[in-house]
Assembly symmetry: C2
Homo-oligomer: 338 residues x 2
Amino acid sequence: MTANHQIRLKSRPTGWVTPDNFEHVKADMPSPGPGQMLVKTLYLSVDPYMRGRMNDAKSYADPWKLGEACVGGIVVRVEESNGGKFPAGTYLTGMGAWANYQVTDGTGFNPVDPKLAPLSFYLGILGMPGMTAWVGLKGIADMKEGDNVYVSAASGAVGQVVGQIAKNMGCHVAGSAGDDAKVAYLKDELGFDAAFNYKTEKNLFAAVKAANPKGIDVYFENVGGPMLEAVINMMNFNGRIALCGMIADYNLTVDEMPAGPRNLVLLVGRSIKMQGFIVVNYPDLCREWIGVGAKWLQEGKLKYRESVVEGLENAPTAFIDMLKGKNFGKQIVKVADE
Amino acid sequence: MTANHQIRLKSRPTGWVTPDNFEHVKADMPSPGPGQMLVKTLYLSVDPYMRGRMNDAKSYADPWKLGEACVGGIVVRVEESNGGKFPAGTYLTGMGAWANYQVTDGTGFNPVDPKLAPLSFYLGILGMPGMTAWVGLKGIADMKEGDNVYVSAASGAVGQVVGQIAKNMGCHVAGSAGDDAKVAYLKDELGFDAAFNYKTEKNLFAAVKAANPKGIDVYFENVGGPMLEAVINMMNFNGRIALCGMIADYNLTVDEMPAGPRNLVLLVGRSIKMQGFIVVNYPDLCREWIGVGAKWLQEGKLKYRESVVEGLENAPTAFIDMLKGKNFGKQIVKVADE
């Protein structure tokens, strides 16, 4: 039998995450007790929200524990069932350890169908990132046909789905990303009506305005920082801002944080709603998305780009690169062959 | 017959409003055409939102026009009806000119009952400020019994009603105001559970925390500026912020504006909603408030403080003093005896 390894949290970062915050250690091969299953990790997901779990602070997801394996979304195959919920050979997705093997009683794991979509998609377009896009647009921003929709980090795991949902529902869609290849992908592959590289635009206000000529009805916020101020300037009456993440702020202490938008007063006169949300609190919409998303994938109405790194040992680097925006599409770590 | 005068907008302010932005001029006595009424102004209201109408900028209320009379909430008596909607002697409230006399066909005016409440109350607790409190708490913040409610500018026209509604509905209520007499009024007269003087507190974060020991579920935002950052720090999961106004920002150009809150990222993890609103877009709740508010007034469940200045010619000064926080309670200008 193959050896088992884990990626554990070695120290909590101050500021930017470094590889030293993790350690890659050999672990015992676990053995399933009664009612448990031994599962083998095939894919694991690295996501922006995990930055928060590295801190020892109250948040919506529990902090990772020092000296223990990091935890996140994974796709596994049941190797051995000791009277567990699912037979050997079943593919599952759920939250689990960054490890080659682990045991579980199946709580929080759901079976997935490899015929419906590639298994890694259940960590992305059909997993939490896709659900996040759907919940933000439908549950928070109440997006409707004809809305002018703008999304930042538009080529990322969530952003690329946001834009395509909006296009499929008859909206004008604009997005921004951090390099020219991503911008070209948004326009040429995903059908965005407008897109720009926020890193090379000298005037962010002008760039947001040019990409959203009729103003913005729905903003899907992924980045934080100065982008939000430029967006608020262009928001229409009764605009809705779904606050999904503010990746620019995740690695900063409060004193380092950039000033917030100076134009929040515009939210009053324009009756704008700005709302944060956590996807797991909208289980009905999450389920709805799996149906809608799988159907659109099969009909060719959704494209999806992944960035895959191979090897459990490379999960920390994949995570850090993703935080720095080096990924192009949803960042996945492939841990073992299917 | 008495002479007619108007207060007109003479120039648009850059920064703080000054009396020179207005002029007090003698005007012709208007004569009601067929279907019109001649009405005499008894009270007029000066409100923070009017600062926006002094600018030549798109907003929810049309800009006041240069050289024309300022417009706002007024209480009038019908002096003469030329086949108009209401007979002479009827008391009405609606939007009208800062003038002793004007003609109207009655559009936007509604009759008010001087037996139910003093006439000036229809510009305050039973008028737009009271409706604003009700709409913000019920329509935007979805306030429920047991919520921890915090309101800034708590002794102002809107704030004092916000706090009392929340108390009447079984909430913990805290507020802040800009001098010790106002703070004492909140605690001793209006029954606030906690209140503090934000001008004399050295640490705004500590003061907000001490006044809201269980955190904040509902924040009724009247002020803008640094208060919002301190409040966001103390907001509970699923908290709601009703953005009613940001008086601190109304007289500043964008470059002078203070930095926005640096901690907006907390809105994500705590699933906080922040929403601006304009009271006139919630007509059903406005009507509901007149019933609820009048009942509570009669039952002694609402106290209400006004600051009354006499004379049409003093409206500009009353308006400017209100913007600077010199008023104690709802600022009213008494134009003529009832």
